[in-house]
Amino acid sequence: MLYLNLILIGISIGGVYALLGLGLVLIYRSSGVLNFAQTSMAMISTYVFWEVSRRAPFLTVWGALGAAVLFGAALGAGLYRTIFARLRNSPPLARLIASVGVAFILPALARVIWSGQSERGVRLPAPFGTKVLRLGFAAIQSEQLALAVVSVVVGIGLHQWMRRSVAGMALRAVAQNRQAAQMLGVPEAKISAIAWGIGGGLAALAGALYLPLQYLDPNQMATMLPAAFAAALLGGLVNIPMALAGGLALGAMESVFRGMHGVFPRLAPTIAALGIVAFLLARIDRFFVSPAELKAIEGEGAGR
């Protein structure tokens, strides 16, 4: 029973990995950026969630959540427009380093703006509450359950959107063959900005739903980056259902490790990193992307 419960709790954390991983996939697919700032974007959007929830109580916690998601989306789109669009034709390494830079700048910014709060951390209101629900075999907090459910719903919705909507198809077109898409008049910059916006919104959602279970400070979420990457990598950085499943499974696995005896609890934080290495060695991407597609995503400087 303990393990069933651990798996259930793990899936909720896995939901966070999945939401972050989905954002990574969208961003990578549209602009070829491995976004190391994904968790920092989640963290700083959650500060916005907190500020809106307390300074505009009439909006309720849902209004604050909406505001945070909008902020995350604007942040994502803004980062793309100001930084990554300009690096569209730079080598992938340049884009990578730029994203690492942003990943450091955002926490520093949060530390300046919210000094004081950033030291003790902030306790946040939980949109779905922290009531303990008993589901026959297991107990879980309503917010944790919501995280798992929301991530699945968002993942499925995103998958459908990519397949059916015009924008989604355009995004796939850009990813598959940039030149051809351009020639067909697909507004690449706009599509990428949308993808970054969605990625930022998902990061905000992850932060604002998860951090009420923890606390908020500028270092938060950073340790989740490997797991988010592992989830995204499981989908070869492009496949949405696999990234979703990967995130959920990784969360469950970690949680089970934490609850076991011996060295396992200490290994738990390394599972994600091990997963990344294993996926890379297994060249998992080749199951999802053709060499031509990869070249399209990464740009001319890909050097592969």
Partner: protein, 480 residues
């Protein structure tokens, strides 16, 4: 363990008690730099003890049955009000300690806000990060949200600008310290009061540890900013008597600007078949001993006596600051406004200094790093410290050298595991496993705390808290 079938003799009882005391820290003689407050006045202690014993059995629950205790409380509170610049209209109560005083101030502010600002759904209390945990605890118990604000990274005084910026429509209260425990510094109370006045908020000034001493320091010629009821906008204050008034433990007061505010502190219940209850404070049955002992101490030592004790304290503090600053590798944090000294080191693990000093019979409580404040050692200087200063400084110098280069190498994997703990979803079982995996043996803590302190220091505060709770849960296991 059961109640002994046949009672022990009085002699056996005391033998057992004395036996248990052997590992305890000294409470007198100035070798303990925390937890105890020693005036050094033998006679004052005897007077307090006698008063305590004489009022031991009295119950302040019913002031009509024991009017003496009511009178003592009202006299003690009156002296406290006069000491803190309170004019006509200021009222207060005697409580069991600083935590209860602070707790009641927060509860009173909350209930006042409920009555006057019912639209606030999630009330917030602004706490500069140096505010005492009693306020976080009160917020936790009372369902309020604590909003921490920054302090100046050099002086460690609350930043009034940060307080003003943190005010939201949900804010009901601001807390300032006079003085803060960790660094002994006085917050800019007048500026914080201006914010409180402008935004219509409750300002509590926590004078638990500094409130009694500050007026004497001012009379000794030290520059002391305004901090008490003379500052318009201060709604309530707390001041412990079991600290620098040297009363036996269990003695503090909480004061309010007016009865109209204090009203929200009181609690009455007549909805049961027993006696109608009126409680002024948290306790209901309330022992007479602490009130009588505090009253006796105040009256016995007297104003001139306290001024003399303050002079001794001030001199010891200044000599310690000079001495510590003169020891290579040590640095005093901030500039204390009273008699609390925090000092840190750039390159020596202070937790090992504390352990070394303990071996030489000095009790120095360590403080983990937090925000702009590095890990440090904390001295509560009292009137009985002065004769110990030179011996202390000499030992400190040796211990800094002895501790240099020592330190626990914390397994990074373990630290990451600990840091990644989700405090809310951890079961007790998992926590105790983690604590075990860290190699912490709770039984061995009496001898060496340096390793445990180093681990705690490396973790975020919320995880420190989860581990402390797990540890505390183990420590308090019924005796076999």
């Amino acid at each position: 363990m059961r109640i002994p079938e046949n009672g022990l003799s009085g002699e056996q009882v005391f033998e057992r008690l004395r036996d248990l005391r052997r590992k305890d820290a000294e409470t007198r003689g100035g070798r303990a730099w925390g937890l105890v407050y020693d005036s050094g006045l033998e006679e004052a202690r005897e007077v307090a003890e006698r008063a305590y014993v004489e009022f031991l059995g009295l119950n302040a629950l019913d002031p009509t049955a024991f009017p003496s205790v009511l009178r003592l409380e009202n006299e003690v509170v009156a002296m406290a009000i006069a000491h803190l610049g309170g004019g006509a209209g200021v009222v207060g109560n005697f409580t069991s300690g600083g935590t209860e005083s602070c707790f009641l101030a927060v509860k009173t502010a909350r209930d006042h806000a409920r009555a006057t600002r019912p639209e606030v759904a999630r009330p917030e209390v602004i706490l500069p990060i140096t505010a005492h945990p009693a306020f976080h605890k009160a917020c936790h118990y009372l369902g309020l949200t604590a909003v921490p604000t920054a302090v100046d990274p050099e002086t460690f005084k609350a930043d009034a600008g940060a307080v003003a910026r943190a005010v939201s429509p949900s804010t009901i209260m601001i807390v300032g310290s006079a003085v803060s425990y960790a660094h002994g510094v006085l917050d800019p109370i007048a500026e914080m009061a201006a914010v409180a006045r402008e935004r219509g908020l409750w300002l509590h000034v926590d004078g638990c540890i500094g409130g009694f001493l500050l007026p004497y320091y001012r009379r000794l010629g030290r520059a002391v900013g305004d901090f008490d009821f003379t500052v318009e906008g201060v709604s309530s204050m707390s001041m412990d008597l079991h600290k620098y008034a040297y009363a036996p433990k269990g003695a503090s007061v909480v004061l309010y600007r007016s009865k109209a505010l204090r009203k929200y502190q009181l609690y009455a219940c007549a909805s049961w078949p027993g006696y109608p209850i009126l409680n002024t404070t948290v306790q209901s049955t309330k022992p007479g001993g602490p009130i009588a002992a505090a009253w006796a101490t105040l009256n016995f030592i007297g104003d001139e006596g306290y001024l003399r004790l303050a002079r001794l304290t001030l001199e010891a503090t200044e000599r310690l600051i000079a001495g510590i600053s003169g020891i290579p590798r040590l640095r005093v944090l901030g500039r204390t406004d009273t008699s609390l000294i925090a000092f840190a080191s750039e390159d020596v693990n202070v937790f090992y200094i504390a352990d070394e000093m303990k071996r030489r019979g000095w009790l120095i409580p360590p403080q983990p790093s937090f925000g702009p404040s590095p890990a440090s050692l904390h001295l509560i200087v009292t009137a009985s410290s002065l004769p110990q200063v030179d011996a202390f400084l000499a030992d400190l110098r040796t211990c800094v050298e002895a501790a240099a280069g020592r330190g626990l190498r914390i397994d990074p994997a373990l630290r990451d595991t600990l840091a990644a703990l989700d405090p809310s979803s951890l079961t007790d079982e998992m926590l105790s496993r983690v604590v075990g995996a860290a190699g912490v043996e709770w039984d061995a803590l009496e001898d060496s705390m340096a390793d445990v302190n180093s681990i705690l220091d490396s973790l975020p505060p919320q995880v420190r808290e989860a581990l402390l709770i797990a540890g505390g849960n183990e420590l308090f296991t019924p005796a076999k």
